[in-house]
């Protein structure tokens, strides 16, 4: 029941007391499990649609593919941890681990761009071989789209949990929702993607994080305001 302000504080206290019922406490662990479950659901859906890439276990996958996915996992864990903590009101210093993790992941697209630049510069265009910029794998942007769509499952779980809680720093909760949704959504889709070049993985396997960070910052605060 939605409680309204009363003529006097005493009336309000009487009304609140009258309606009091036992409540189940909101626990951060519930939020973490809910988000982990959403990430698993997103992964299962991606695997059902696109099929699991077995190349990961046959030694085909490049080191860069593994490192990027590991960084996505670290970012997903750090942002989920910050997000579930942000659902409970508290004062004091807050950890910056999710932002540092995001900065670490940011090295992947940076490396990809630097790598593409030097590969292109040193490419022998008379050889007849396609340069990295002419390689269709470099421009296969659909991975970014599918990863972002998978992230919506995680974002939904995060928003549901935050609405149950009482976040007092809406912008921070918005950023963290975006980082968690982007990283775990991208990871869910990446399990199915056999394209593992530096340029492709560095850009299209990480772009959902950027997409969701922006969506999270802009859209989530108004969804979780209380």
């Amino acid at each position: 029941m939605k409680m309204e302000k009363q003529q006097s504080r005493e009336d309000l206290i009487a009304a609140l007391t009258e309606d009091l019922t036992p409540v189940e406490r909101v626990k951060p662990a519930q939020g973490a499990w809910l988000i982990a479950f959403a990430a698993v659901v997103a992964s299962v859906c991606c695997i059902a649609i696109f099929e699991f890439w077995t190349g990961m276990f046959t030694g085909e996958a490049s080191a860069f593919y593994w490192i990027t996915n590991a960084l996505l996992l670290v970012l997903g864990a750090a942002s989920t941890s910050g997000l579930v903590a942000s659902a409970l009101p508290r004062v004091g210093a807050r950890g910056n681990a999710p932002y540092w993790s995001a900065a670490m992941l940011g090295m992947a697209p940076l490396t990809a761009i630097i790598s593409v630049f030097f590969l292109e510069m040193n490419h022998d265009h008379t050889s007849g071989l396609p340069s990295v910029l002419n390689d269709p794998l470099t421009w296969y942007w659909e991975c970014g789209l599918y990863g972002s769509i998978a992230g919506s499952v995680v974002a939904l779980a995060a928003v549901l949990y935050l609405r149950r809680g009482a976040p007092v720093s809406l912008e921070r909760s918005g950023w963290l929702t975006g980082l968690a949704a982007g990283s775990l959504g991208a990871l869910a889709y990446n399990l199915t993607c056999p394209l593992d070049t530096v340029a492709h993985v560095g850009i299209w396997h990480t772009v959902p994080v950027l997409v969701w960070a922006v969506i999270g910052r802009l859209a989530v605060p108004r969804l979780i305001r209380w």
């Binding site: 409680m3 309204e4 302000k5 009363q6 504080r9 309000l12 206290i13 009487a14 609140l16 007391t17 009258e18 009091l20 019922t21 036992p22 409540v23 189940e24 406490r25 909101v26 626990k27 659902a87 409970l88 009101p89 508290r90 004062v91 004091g92 210093a93 149950r164 809680g165 009482a166 007092v168 720093s169 209380w226």
Partner: protein, 165 residues
């Protein structure tokens, strides 16, 4: 609070009354006197609807202070949106001189950490009570720039206060 979470009405009644008094003291130096009761009632409703978010293994007052601060900032935003001229004008009217001086010293210290342009316009508009136009004329900044500088400065101040808390 644990008893209130478990549905004990008598405990909840005592707690709500105590919380109401604590909030009144909390808001006394933060909002004009005529807005205190409204704000206290808003926080009491927030406290009641979000009582499931208190973790018994953590201290109670920081949790309550976080909710009070959230509602206060929300209230300031509404006031600021509707009338950017009347913010915190009536503060400290009933305070002792020592408290006023201490508040001023803390404020100066915080303002000292802001870029000069932001600190200057916040001083003029939010403390001295000048209008945006007057501040724009005095500083040579455009009116929109004054608004932007106030907005950014206040945001930075809020972050600093949060870090200190």
């Amino acid at each position: 609070m644990t008893a209130a979470q478990d549905g004990d009405k008598a405990s909840a009644n005592v707690l709500l009354s105590e919380v109401g008094m604590w909030l009144e003291r909390y808001f006394r130096r933060r909002v004009p006197p005529h807005q205190i009761d409204d704000l206290v009632q808003e926080v009491l409703i927030g406290f009641y609807t979000k009582r499931s978010t208190w973790d018994p293994s953590r201290p109670f007052l920081p949790w309550l202070a976080a909710i009070a601060r959230y509602r206060w900032v929300d209230h300031l935003r509404k006031v600021y949106k509707h009338d950017s001229k009347e913010l915190m004008e009536d503060d400290a009217v009933e305070d002792s001189e020592e408290e006023v001086v201490m508040a001023r010293v803390s404020l100066d210290r915080l303002l000292g950490q802001l870029p000069e342009k932001q600190a200057h316009v916040i001083e003029m508009v939010k403390i001295s009570g000048l209008s945006i136009r007057e501040a724009a004329e005095k500083t040579g900044q455009s009116e929109s720039l004054v608004k932007v500088n106030i907005h950014r400065g206040l945001k930075k101040l809020a972050t600093m206060v949060e870090e200190v808390e």
